[in-house]
């Protein structure tokens, strides 16, 4: 904090007669926190601009007179819009303020239905809490209450109860300031003011779930977990979202061993406190009714349930004969430990055939640690995002880019072939004809005439010229994913990288899956290449691979070419399907292994900028299921390929010997270090 204050003007203010040094202009509602004093709030949110709509945060103010006395202002002021200035005196506990707070709460409750017993927010509701601590103890209200429609489905995920809304504007401001889609606005005025979408259409935001969390009352609730549990029925456990490579920190709220909802957990280096809708509402697969619960082995034409000993025994026997032609397909959500052990198994067996979604070999790209972290991206002056919608592929990166643009004035250049969310606030949107990205890049690096490029790509020469000038400046960061190669060809991706290097810009080729970074790092540490799933499947067809292990990888969903998948699975001699949910691939399996999910088995996960995060298990495993890393640890010890893997910590220590990334992550920065409690099951 001290470093942060350097170079900032400090002023002295008085808070409840205690002298305090704070940066000039800091909002008083924040300043008092330094003393551990709390001012009740509703509409203020530390990550959004203050609006002073609810008046809950009133304080008495005064100024220090030259003779040392304090002259109080006659009226209270909202502390969330009051910047600190020299000699300002604040009173947060005077009888006047205590009464004012009661008054504000009484006003807010006039129109609030007080249906707390059935409200999903009841029990964790700021309005309840503030009323309890600062409000009147009884009601004087005998008149009729305002009535409004209840439980309006605002979107697939969000339900709005208009009666409960206290018109704080947090949700509206979130869509304007944070997610940037500007989906919500207030209609009408006064007591009938309502948050709603403009044309009363569905609330289509990729981040709509956050409004549920920041709404200080139960006006916005989750449709998914509606009435599923009261807050006191729930247990919250810290977890990491594994649905994409961002690695958002989340709370998993569960009840009697079942996941109920997912909420954002604050980590300023990753997701701040936000989640995307995919992450917030996409974890229902934990409660899938076809969760794999036992080991199956194929006897003649049928799959029969068996024990781990028999199942793994069969695999070991098979691997002993066909080990050199064994292939592993790593799923997008597997833990670092499992990814490493699978790579390790492939090297030890001598086959070296490992594949994953984030493969880069076929794209002609090498694995490079991105130059920017999620935090440093915010400081970029120019951000060039290339490829399809960033908000879809890497939602949290999108939020960072948006924050950089809206709060730090970064210039965003969005290069794509179909409109994306970035266009809304991009400094320049270069929308090119599909398949012409390479040309466009050649235009930008000066090897082709701009007019010529403009003609071919459909981007105006003027825009290209502007982009070129901006790119020549300082602090440029490029953001790309494999999507660039998938849509525009691998040549475009390498051209782009060349351009970034030539401009001496930060080159960020981000992974897209939660297991991507670690499997790329493990492969390169063990001297292998992470291949693409397609190439492994083709090798199954050609007979180079006789033994295929799907490590929580559902090829029918993740590989486009369905025919190829089908033929490959039929062709391969021995197929191990390790999965958490029964999938189509099990029909082809020789052995099916039930795998638990991260919340049940634990694991560490590395996100796109290389932060290793621990995820400790807290839910019971289903049936015979085991954690992905446990399965591989047992396999390797049964085959005498490695020993001494009793906990996740042991595996990470082992990985640190072979893979420089893990060594760095384990010994390096403190916040990347897994907690010792992460070990074990």
């Amino acid at each position: 904090m001290a470093a942060e204050m350097m170079g900032v003007d400090m002023v002295t203010i008085l808070v409840d007669d205690i002298e305090l040094q704070v940066p000039k202009g800091e909002l008083i509602v924040e300043s008092v926190k330094r003393l551990g004093i709390e001012i009740p709030i509703f509409c203020y949110h530390p990550r959004m601009k203050p609006v002073g709509m609810c008046r809950m945060c009133l304080v008495e103010t005064g100024t220090k007179q030259p003779d040392g006395t304090i002259r109080k202002m006659p009226k209270p002021q909202a502390s969330c819009t009051l910047p600190a200035s020299e000699g300002l005196a604040i009173y947060t506990q005077t009888p006047q303020i205590i009464q004012d707070r009661k008054g504000v709460l009484e006003f807010l409750l006039i129109n609030h239905p007080l249906d707390c017993p059935i409200c999903d927010r009841g029990g964790e509701c700021p309005l309840q809490n503030n009323t309890l601590f600062y409000g009147p103890s009884t009601s004087r209200h005998i008149e009729f209450k305002r009535h409004a429609p209840k439980a309006i489905p605002l979107s697939e995920h969000v339900t709005l109860d208009l009666e409960r809304c206290i018109q704080c504007g947090r949700c509206v401001r979130f869509t304007e300031e944070i997610s940037g889609d500007g989906q919500l606005a207030f209609r009408f005025r006064g007591a009938s003011m309502q948050p709603s979408t403009f044309a009363l259409s569905a609330f289509e935001s990729k981040f709509s779930g956050n409004t549920i969390e920041i709404c200080p009352v139960g006006a916005l609730t989750s449709s998914q977990s509606r009435f599923r549990a009261r807050p006191w029925d729930l247990e919250s456990s810290a977890g990491v979202c594994t649905l994409c490579s961002c690695g958002c920190n989340v709370w998993f709220d569960h009840r009697i061993g079942k996941l109920v909802r997912v909420n954002g957990r604050t980590n300023n280096a990753v997701n701040e406190e936000w989640t995307c809708d995919q992450g917030k509402f996409g974890h229902d697969y934990y409660n899938h009714n076809e969760r794999q619960a036992s080991v199956f082995i194929r006897t003649s034409a049928r799959l029969e349930s068996t024990s781990w000993t028999v199942g793994l025994g069969e695999i070991v026997t098979k691997l002993k004969s066909t080990g050199t032609s064994a292939g592993f397909l790593l799923g997008p959500k597997i833990s670092n430990e499992a990814g490493f052990l699978a790579c390790r198994a492939a090297t030890a067996l001598g086959s070296r055939q490992v594949a994953g979604i984030d493969s880069r070999v076929e794209l002609g790209a090498n694995f490079e640690v991105p130059a920017d972290s999620l935090l440093s991206l915010e400081q970029a002056k120019v951000i060039v995002s290339v490829g399809p919608s960033l908000a879809d592929t890497l939602p949290i990166v999108y939020l960072r880019v948006r924050k950089a643009a809206s709060q730090k004035g970064a210039k965003v250049i969005s290069i794509h072939s179909s409109p994306t969310e970035l266009d809304e606030f991009a400094f320049l949107s270069l929308c090119h004809k599909p398949g012409t990205l390479s040309l466009l890049i050649q235009g930008l690096d000066g090897s082709l005439a701009l007019e010529e490029v403009a003609l071919q790509t459909g981007v105006s020469a003027q825009a290209l010229k502007e982009a070129k000038t901006v790119l020549e400046g300082q602090g440029v960061s490029f953001i790309a994913t494999n999507q660039v190669a998938h849509t525009e060809g691998s040549a475009a991706l390498s051209d782009l990288r060349r351009l970034a290097k030539k401009l001496e810009a930060n080159w960020n080729h981000f992974c897209e899956t939660a297991s991507g970074f670690a499997s790329l790092a493990s492969c390169s540490g063990l001297g292998m290449e992470l291949q693409s799933p397609e190439s492994i499947l083709k090798k199954c067809l050609s007979g180079d691979i006789k033994f295929l292990w799907l490590v929580d990888f559902d090829p029918f969903e993740l590989v486009k070419d369905r025919e190829l998948v089908k033929q490959a699975l039929e062709e391969v001699e021995f197929l191990v399907v390790q999965s958490a949910i029964a999938s189509e691939a099990s029909h082809y399996a020789s052995v099916v292994l039930p795998q638990s999910l991260p919340a049940e088995g634990g694991g560490s996960f590395t996100n796109l900028d290389g932060q290793l995060q621990n995820f400790d298990a807290f839910l019971p495993k289903i049936g015979m299921a085991r954690a992905d890393w446990q399965i591989f640890a047992e396999l390797l010890s049964r085959m005498d390929l490695a020993a001494g893997m009793f906990s996740r910590q042991d595996i990470l220590q082992m990985a640190a010997k072979d893979v420089p990334y893990f060594k760095e992550a384990l010994t390096g920065k403190q916040d990347h270090q897994p907690q010792p409690s992460g070990a074990g099951v």
Binding site: P117, I118, G123, K150, A151, F227, R228, R230, D233
Partner: protein, 150 residues
């Protein structure tokens, strides 16, 4: 010798009989349960019941406040949403499952106190013994009052 027997044996017996005979005239303090039953005190707290409104709707709205208040953690409530076709209680929410583990219950009545609608009440029925542990899980069907026959 015989005098000793008279003194040590017969006299106490006769004395005891005497007391018994005297007591025969008093009012009886015991009753012959289970043929006869005593009226319970008005505030007795025994077996729970889920009550209904006069129109037959359940009072319980599935808010789980009883479960939150219960010091023995023996109540489990699972809620669901009312629809116009399938209405159980007034308002939006009702309890699909309402279970009390009677072995754990300490009959403190906190649930009754916490209930915002007065749905759960502890009544006078005290004969709760049973043969199997599972039988002590009282389900919503067991707890809910029958509809007043109209």
């Amino acid at each position: 010798m015989s005098l000793g027997i008279l003194k040590d044996v017969a006299r106490p017996i006769l004395g005891g009989m005497g007391i018994t005979a005297k007591r025969l005239r008093h009012k009886k303090a015991t009753i012959s349960y289970p043929e006869q039953r005593r009226e319970q005190y008005p505030r007795t707290r025994w077996r729970h019941a889920l009550t209904r409104y006069e129109n037959g709707l359940e009072k319980c709205i599935g808010c789980s406040l009883c479960a939150g208040a219960c010091p023995a953690k023996c109540i489990n409530v699972v809620a669901a949403e009312n629809t116009d076709e399938d209405r159980h209680s007034p308002g939006e929410r009702y309890a699909v499952r309402y279970e009390i583990n009677m072995i754990r219950c300490i009959f403190c009545g906190y649930c009754q106190e916490a209930c915002p609608t007065g749905a759960i009440v502890l009544r006078k029925e005290f004969e709760l013994a049973n043969y199997h542990r599972e039988d002590f899980i009282y389900t919503k069907e067991m707890l809910l009052e029958a509809k007043a026959s109209t």
